[in-house]
């Protein structure tokens, strides 16, 4: 139904190769998240799949059919934009009905589908309002409603939650995940928020400068990052990287250890250092420790850990959880 394959897809703007060459398989029903830092080409890649940009080279196959040359409307995909892109002059009802109207559906069918979508998205009471009379979260839902009525082969989302406040973002995240479970339609979701990526995705695609750094399930990326970039990008707070003697002790050019995999003690341990800043979150404590001969290392302990600025502490990396990288930044397994 909604499998998408990219082979050797590239995109050049002027002389600038935003996407040098990408191969990617997306299976039917998967929730795929593109993550990466700002400007890495996530939106561009999504827009290439949507057909809003022409590929410079390569092929896009949707459902076994080569769609490279098809205009956006004929690819059978729906998109939810970051700014929602609702039609400001149309009511919520007409906004949601628009794709059906374009497809030439019957009035009765349209009414029924719009009513269904409105029910699913809790929009029934707002159908006759204009977009400007809605809150951010409601607008977001209208945009999603407009995307689902058409029963597309796949949904494309471009940072759909970035305009919402933190609490609403968590809510909508759940709603979209719920929607995916109900519809079981392929979804491609762009974000630069790795928490969104980790919580929602079946499969994460980490992009950097237009290249795929790694593809895998959230836990695969967390436990087995292929390289320094992925290791540093996935996980919060960031993985600590240590070079020099401490790394050499693990036969690596660079060793990586996540803050949650450092054992903390006031009495003894492998590394000794001075607490710079201690962030007490209640459930967790983040310590930024100046380790002698290594530099600043972040450690995370659950619960409260009573230390303050200037205290001496000991840190011990969990040997099972040490990540080793060679001098090119690739993981040594």
């Amino acid at each position: 139904m909604g499998s998408i394959t990219l082979s050797k897809v590239s995109k050049v703007f002027g002389a600038h190769a935003v996407i040098p060459s990408i191969d990617l398989d997306i299976n039917n029903g998967e929730f795929v998240v593109f993550v990466g830092p700002s400007g890495c080409g996530k939106s561009t890649l999504l827009r290439l799949i949507a057909g809003l940009e022409d590929v410079s080279d390569g092929d896009i196959v949707i459902d076994g059919k080569n769609a490279t040359e098809l205009p956006p409307a004929q690819r059978g995909l729906s998109m939810v934009f970051q700014s929602y892109a609702l039609y400001p002059h149309m009511s919520v009802r007409s906004n949601i009905a628009f794709p059906l109207k374009m497809a030439g559906e019957d009035k009765a069918v349209i009414d029924k589908k719009v009513a269904d979508a409105a029910r699913v998205l809790n929009l029934t009471d707002y159908l006759d309002r204009k977009p400007r009379q809605l809150s951010g979260g409601q607008r977001q839902r209208v945009a999603i409603g407009r995307a689902i009525v058409r029963q597309p082969k796949a949904f494309l989302f471009d940072e759909p939650l970035s305009n919402l406040d933190a609490a609403l973002r968590v809510n909508m995240r759940l709603e979209i995940s719920q929607l995916h479970q109900d519809l079981k339609t392929t979804m491609i979701y762009v974000t630069h928020d790795q928490v969104e990526a980790m919580t929602m995705a079946d499969k994460i695609v980490v992009l950097n400068r237009g290249r795929i750094e790694q593809v895998g399930s959230p836990l695969e990326l967390y436990h087995k990052p292929d390289n320094l970039f992925v290791a540093g990008f996935i996980g919060s707070p960031r993985m600590n990287f240590v070079n020099g003697a401490a790394a050499a002790a693990h036969q690596a050019h660079t060793m990586g250890i996540r803050p949650e995999h450092l054992a903390l003690s006031k009495d003894s341990g492998a590394w000794q250092g001075t607490v710079g800043v201690a962030e007490h979150l209640g459930s967790d404590t983040f310590l930024h420790v100046n380790v002698d001969g290594i530099g600043t290392v972040t450690a995370r302990v659950s619960g409260d850990f009573a230390v303050t600025h200037g205290d001496r502490v000991f840190l011990t990396p969990d040997p099972q959880r040490v990540h080793r990288f060679d001098d090119k930044g690739l993981a040594i397994r």
């Binding site: 956006p72 409307a73 998109m79 934009f81 892109a85 609702l86 039609y87 628009f98 374009m102």
Partner: protein, 276 residues
């Protein structure tokens, strides 16, 4: 105390601003008042501001003597005609430049504006001769053609700046939703562009209504719009103040009212959105 000072300041500002405003407006007010005077009262010394025998006879005089209504219709046809035709030509162009811009779009726009820089008088002679030889001289059609051409760059620029403000994502959304180019234009672009189109329309009607180079040079009697009709009052002096005022009032009233309702758009339009 501070409150008191600011109220007093506000009163002073109000008095000064109103005085200046009335002074600037005075010639128009005076024309309006004079149009209701008899010719004798119109040149009476000392002049009376309000206390005279109000009469509307000047208006009837102007109409009956010079068939004012025909010139009025000429103005309407020429200004609306040229603006509407201009819009029909300009809307697709501005749309294309705003939504699929290329590297040259800015240059094309600049070039279009630069055609406004060419002084009309540079092409007066050939236009006059071409119009004479094709029988377009002193016809509404001829004036519509010229005014369409001279206002086209402004229409395109204005529409372009308005269209630019429509977020491109909305048009992309329409494309994703399966709208064809024509449906995209009918259902999405046009409704969103209507406010911009309306103010473009308004400003250009005003400009065309008041255009006084080509209308004066390319029309004589038959097709003369109000600009040229009023100009015919320039020779006989003195005794026709009241009728001149009545004719003038009728010539400027429609546009004055139109302009008052659209001040904001007027400014934005004429600056091509460069000042908001």
């Amino acid at each position: 105390m501070a409150r008191n000072v600011s109220t007093r300041r506000k009163v002073v500002v109000t008095v000064v601003a109103w005085t200046i405003g009335i002074l600037i407006f005075f010639p128009i007010l005076w024309t309006f008042l004079t149009s209701f005077k008899s010719e004798a009262e119109a040149i009476a010394s000392p002049p009376s501001l309000l206390f005279f025998d109000w009469t509307t006879e000047n208006y009837f005089e102007v109409q009956s003597r010079s068939n004012y209504f025909r010139h009025f219709m000429n103005s309407v046809v020429v200004s609306f005609g040229s603006t509407l035709i201009g819009l029909v030509i300009a809307i697709p162009s501005a749309w294309a430049m705003a939504f699929s811009p290329t590297k040259r779009t800015k240059d094309v726009l600049m070039w279009m504006l630069s055609t406004k820089m060419m002084p009309s008088v540079g092409v007066l002679v050939p236009m006059y001769l071409m119009f004479r030889n094709t029988g377009l001289l002193d016809t509404r059609t001829g004036l519509v053609i010229v005014l369409t051409l001279i206002n086209l760059p402004i229409i395109i620029w204005m529409l372009y700046t308005y269209f630019k403000e429509i977020p491109g994502e909305i048009l992309e959304a329409a494309r994703m939703d399966g709208a064809s180019l024509s449906k995209e234009i009918i259902y999405v672009l046009t409704p969103m562009a209507i406010p911009g189109i309306a103010s473009t329309l308004l400003l250009n009607i005003i400009l065309a209504w008041n255009e006084a180079f080509w209308t004066l040079n390319l029309s004589a009697a038959k097709a003369a719009p109000l600009t040229a009709f009023i100009a015919s009052y320039s020779s006989p002096e003195g005794l026709f103040y009241a009728k001149l005022s009545a004719a003038s009032t009728m010539a400027i009233a429609p546009i004055l009212i139109l302009g008052w309702f659209s001040q904001k758009q007027l400014v934005r339009g004429l600056t091509f959105g460069a000042v908001k």
